[in-house]
């Protein structure tokens, strides 16, 4: 006889408890008074604290009215007398809203309301029974935190006003609700076991049975709470294990689904809420990142900043993360990461007298191998970043508390917490963190961050109330509420047995952010190079009596730092954020170009001899490159000097036949689309091509919800065809360059490729002029090389990293798209093929070569992403020896440092063979700072012409020397007193 499936219809115990919890929630306020004097003025924010109003006068705002507009800010006011019955005790403003509101009462900042909290205490700000409310509300279709399910239902640009009230909280009912929420969450958590669950539900049911729900009174509530104390909290039968450190934190994206200008208020609201929680809960501490956000608070809300400063000095409001913002940690170059710390720490030192000893980067999309050294030399001893543990799509990152060994061998204490950086402090989340913690044997506690975030918001009263009850639940891990710094300094000590991770912290996800929003990557590379030259030229121009424009340079540098934020530069943001970034980058670039000037002779700002082919703007030139007329010349410039350009070469130097293109370096056969079918190296007597080489490849690129972020591992399975419109033909040539052109079409997009061979260089330049109209397509260029290698060597901007080109293990397979900076190289001992780029960061290692990602076109968050005209170049550079012998790094630095004009004279050390990464005036104006970077993996000594100060990256003097001893990938900072 078969079993009959029984569909249970009666209410289960958890459901019955939940129903009664809902009834209790109707009694959390003992008295309610409707405020009827609200008015509203709708506006749209156009800049930081600048608003364009829709109406000249406010209009009345009544319950049921629609308020807020798309991309809107609402200014809501009310004035009223507090009813006598409210006097004498605590009362609050109740306002249910999807918006984010900053509440002022009688001129004082009382707190914040948002989808995560509906009341703010105002009684302490009311004087003589009269209250004047001034509310600035900012509405988002995407509220702060998608993880709060209750906030999802209220999405939308236009909201219905649900009324505003004065309410008196019923503390007893509220306390019981917290007990029930704590216990039902714990009872539903599988980690604690069935017996515990059954026990809690049974006793909680009995406790609630003591309440007459038809007539709820405080005596019943007291009895229920006493029962819970006696039967659940006092029962220590169920034992938990583990140690969890609870750090209050709110993640704040400076720009994402909102613009940078809006993060001023988002940050203010978040900080204000935490300060008010500190007023109420003396044990509450909170950790907040990003010097930039502190700067905006100081600028626009000085009185709140002063309050915050006092809490910092008390040790309760903790600045964490020494960086200026939480930048992307793949694409910015080494000097940019150093500046993030220089400007970040400079702010924290000047305002609070502290050097923050940690990097707090919970949301970044992987971390470059160059970081440990940069962090340690910038006063940072601890590194925190979450995503590798919770987002990897292939492998489980094996550590949470460990030592991270950097590319140069520098070691730093590292914490990759086991769970997400946004949590709401429920027992199940705390237990889940310990359960997932992989370094239990190390003797360290695990880190749990709690607080809503992405757009700020932070901790709620509920989270703190629950935390205060954790000690009563014996089944839970042992918890301790600490600051981020307290956790790191107490848990990461020499006595602890920590394992070491000696590699980059590669995130097996978000690989598309290396390519999305190609224009921003282009601007970023340019701005980084220009910042270097503007500083260098400005230092050298001081000899001519020109004042170093320190403030101007710092302003541009900081703007660059902001735009390297991890949802700006990676391209994971809405359309207006992109527009803001483009505007910022244009300002940065034109400002830095103005500082450099354009008078005088061309100069070589590099500290090694320039000898590669380069493009010089010239109205009489034969070529148009990236819309500029000019000519190609073989530069011959000594290090750090001016020189005259040679006259152009003349005479025949290449031959085109039906079969091949003959140049001094190559005998090449090209396909109609510009692919190279054969590239025979006459100098090295070898063929470089063994398949698709310089071949454009198009793929369907549909990763799903994280459209701008991800490229799927199987993208190659969905190729998209292209066709040749105009086959390859010779366009023009002179004594130095021969230019061939081919036009392809894919979908609605046209892709023109100009391929340039040179008389004096083995480099082959490919310019791509693209009218890109695709949606959800990935464009790559493929290089299948006649080279046997198992590694793709990639530039990190401060040394090289080798990525597996084979795919034996899941770890190797997961690295199908990796970050490269200016170049990547596929080589044997005696030679290989490098590709040098000017603005691309995504490379795909292949068993027989590699791909370079050129363009994407995701539709979320920005439906218009990457569409339009693109014009970019890369250089194919076959070479003898490995990439070091082939001097690929120097060629790439030359390629990314176009010749500019400025007459200067440099007399001093050139520091060869180190790379002069930066030359600037120190922030205090007392020294010239030289940043030197070893990038070939060598060690050695350099005798200096005189004594110089040795500095850390914060420009503190460490010592003095007349000789540099350097080791592989070391970054050295020296100072010369003025």
């Amino acid at each position: 006889m078969g079993q009959i499936k029984v569909e249970r219809r009666s209410m289960r115990l958890p459901e019955w408890i939940d129903l009664r919890l809902s009834r209790l929630k109707k009694h959390i306020y003992s008295e309610k008074y409707e405020i009827t004097s609200f008015t509203v003025r709708e506006a749209r924010q156009s800049d930081e604290m600048v608003f364009e109003f829709y109406d000249d006068e406010p209009r009345p705002l009544k319950m049921g009215d629609i308020y807020f507009t798309p991309d809107g800010t609402a200014f809501i006011n009310a004035e009223f007398d507090v009813p006598k019955s409210f006097e004498g005790g605590e009362y609050r403003l109740l306002l249910k809203t999807a918006a984010e509101m900053i509440i002022k009462v009688n001129g004082a900042y009382a707190g914040g309301i948002d989808p995560n909290r509906e009341t703010v205490e105002i009684s302490r700000f009311v004087k003589d029974g009269h209250a004047k409310l001034e509310i600035v509300g900012y509405n988002r279709s995407k509220p702060d935190d998608e993880r709060n399910p209750e906030s999802l239902s209220v999405r939308g640009c236009r909201q219905i006003f649900e009324g505003g009230y004065l309410v008196k909280p019923n503390e007893k009912v509220t306390a019981l609700i917290y007990d029930i929420e704590l216990l039902t969450d714990a009872a539903s958590c599988e980690i604690f076991g069935e017996d515990f669950s059954e026990h809690v539900y049974r006793e909680l049911d009995r406790a609630l049975n003591l309440i007459d729900f038809d007539c709820i009174d405080n005596e019943d509530i007291d009895r229920a709470r006493e029962y819970i104390d006696e039967k659940i909290y006092s029962d220590k039968t169920y034992k938990g294990s583990g140690r969890v450190a609870l750090v209050a934190h709110s993640h704040l994206d400076i720009a994402y689904y909102w613009r940078r200008i809006h993060s001023v208020q988002k940050n203010m609201r978040t900080a204000l809420i935490q300060l008010r929680l500190m007023d109420k809960y003396p044990d509450f501490k909170y950790s907040h990142t990003q010097a930039y956000t502190y700067e905006t608070l100081e600028k626009y809300y000085p009185e709140v900043f002063e309050e915050l400063r006092e809490r910092v000095l008390e040790g309760r409001f903790e600045p964490v993360g020494g960086m200026y913002v939480e930048p992307d940690c793949n694409v910015p170059c080494a000097e940019s990461l150093i500046r993030q710390l220089l400007y970040g720490q400079s702010f924290f030192r000047s305002r609070f007298g502290i050097t923050v000893d940690n990097a707090w980067l919970p949301d970044v999309f992987g971390n470059s191998w160059i970081m440990p050294q940069i962090l340690k030399k910038s006063g940072v001893n601890y590194f925190v970043s979450n995503k590798m543990s919770t987002w990897n799509d292939t492998n489980r990152f094996p550590h949470n508390n460990f030592i991270w060994k950097g590319i140069d061998g520098t070691e730093i204490y590292a914490c990759v917490p086991p769970t997400h950086f946004i949590s709401w402090n429920m027992p199940s989340q705390v237990a889940g963190n310990w359960e997932a913690f992989q370094d239990k044997g190390s003797g360290t506690a695990t880190l749990q961050m709690f607080g809503y975030g992405d757009g700020g918001s932070g901790v709620t009263e509920e989270m703190i109330e629950l935390m205060h009850r954790f000690d009563k639940l014996s089944v839970m891990p042992q918890t301790k509420h600490v600051t981020g710094g307290e956790f790191l300094r107490s848990e990461f000590t020499e006595e602890k047995e920590l394992e070491t991770w000696d590699d980059e912290l590669y995130l097996e996800m978000h690989r598309g952010t290396l390519t999305t929003k190609a224009e921003l990557k282009d601007y970023n590379r340019k701005a980084e190079a220009l910042l270097r030259e503007a500083e260098l030229v400005s230092v050298l121009n001081t000899d001519k009596g020109v004042e170093y424009p320190a403030d101007e340079i710092r302003e541009y540098a900081k703007k660059l730092m902001v735009n390297q934020f991890h949802d700006i530069l990676p391209g994971s943001h809405i359309t207006p954020v992109y527009r803001d970034a483009v505007k910022d980058f244009k300002e940065i670039i034109s400002g830095l170009e103005n500082i450099i000037g354009e008078e005088g002779r061309y100069f070589n700002s590099l500290n090694f001899e320039r000898k590669e082919i380069t493009f010089i703007p010239d109205e009489n030139g034969n070529f148009t490159r990236k819309g500029v007329k000019g000519r190609f010349v073989k530069a011959d410039f000594p290090a750090l000097s001016n020189a005259d350009l040679p006259e152009g070469e003349s005479g025949e130097w290449f031959k085109v036949t039906r079969e091949s293109i003959e140049t001094p370096f190559y005998s090449a056969r090209l396909a109609m689309d510009g692919s190279i079918l054969s590239l025979y190296d006459k100098e090295l007597n070898r063929e470089w091509v063994s398949g698709e080489f310089n071949t454009l490849k198009f793929y369907a690129d549909t990763p799903g919800n994280y459209d701008a972020w991800d490229i799927l591992p199987g993208y190659k399975e969905c190729p998209v065809p292209s066709e040749v419109c105009d086959p390859l033909k010779l366009m023009q040539a002179d004594g130095e360059c021969a230019e061939f052109c081919a036009l392809q079409k894919t979908g609605e997009s046209y892709w023109c490729r100009i391929i340039r061979f040179f008389r004096s260089s083995r480099e082959i330049e490919v310019e791509n002029i693209v009218d890109w109209k695709e949606k959800n397509k990935l464009a790559k260029v493929k290089f299948t090389c006649n080279v046997l290698s198992r590694e793709l060597v990639c530039d990190t901007s401060a040394g090289f990293i080798k990525r597996p080109a084979n795919a034996n293990t899941s770890w190797q397979k997961a690295k199908f798209e990796v970050c490269c900076h200016k170049w990547c190289d596929f080589s044997e001992t005696d030679g290989g093929v490098a590709v040098i780029n000017e603005n691309k960061y995504g490379a795909g290692p292949e068993p027989d070569g590699f791909t370079l990602s050129l363009l994407r076109s995701p539709v979320r968050p920005d439906p218009t992403s990457d569409t339009g005209i693109h014009d970019f170049c890369y250089v194919i550079c076959p070479h003898g020896g490995d990439h070091v012998e082939g001097e690929i790094n120097k060629k790439a630095l030359e390629y990314n440092t176009p010749l500019r004009k400025n007459d200067f004279e440099y007399v001093g050390d050139t520091f060869a063979p180190l790379i002069l990464q930066a030359m600037k005036l120190s922030e205090d104006g007392s020294m010239i700072v030289y940043r030197l970077s070893e990038q070939d993996g060598r060690r050695g000594r350099i005798k200096l012409s005189g004594k110089m100060k040795t500095l850390n990256m914060l420009e503190d003097v460490i010592g003095e020397t007349d000789e540099i001893e350097y080791s592989p990938f070391e970054i050295i900072t020296l100072g010369a007193e003025i």
């Binding site: 809107g72 279709s141 613009r259 459209d707």
Partner: protein
């Protein structure tokens, strides 16, 4: 109308992660497509009303907005 929607309405819609595209005008009807966050908004009608009101106040024209939602591929079930 196309210029007004592109230059005035569109930046505001984009500010919330949405997207509006002008399609055509037929007499008193203006056809548009909503994408991005707008494509899945449960209270889009309120926004449509606001756009019609803005058009009336700023251009003096009373129009009816006829719209189509185009969800991103991963939501288009």
């Amino acid at each position: 109308m196309e210029k007004y929607i592109n230059e005035y309405i569109r930046p505001r819609i984009q500010g919330d992660g949405g997207e509006i595209e002008f399609v055509k005008r037929e007499g008193g009807a203006v056809k548009v497509i909503f994408r991005g966050e707008c494509s899945k908004c449960q209270i889009l009608d309120r926004c449509v009303g606001w756009i019609e009101q803005r058009i009336l106040e700023d251009t003096g024209e009373s129009v009816k907005l006829e719209y189509e939602r185009k969800k991103p591929y991963f939501l288009d079930k």
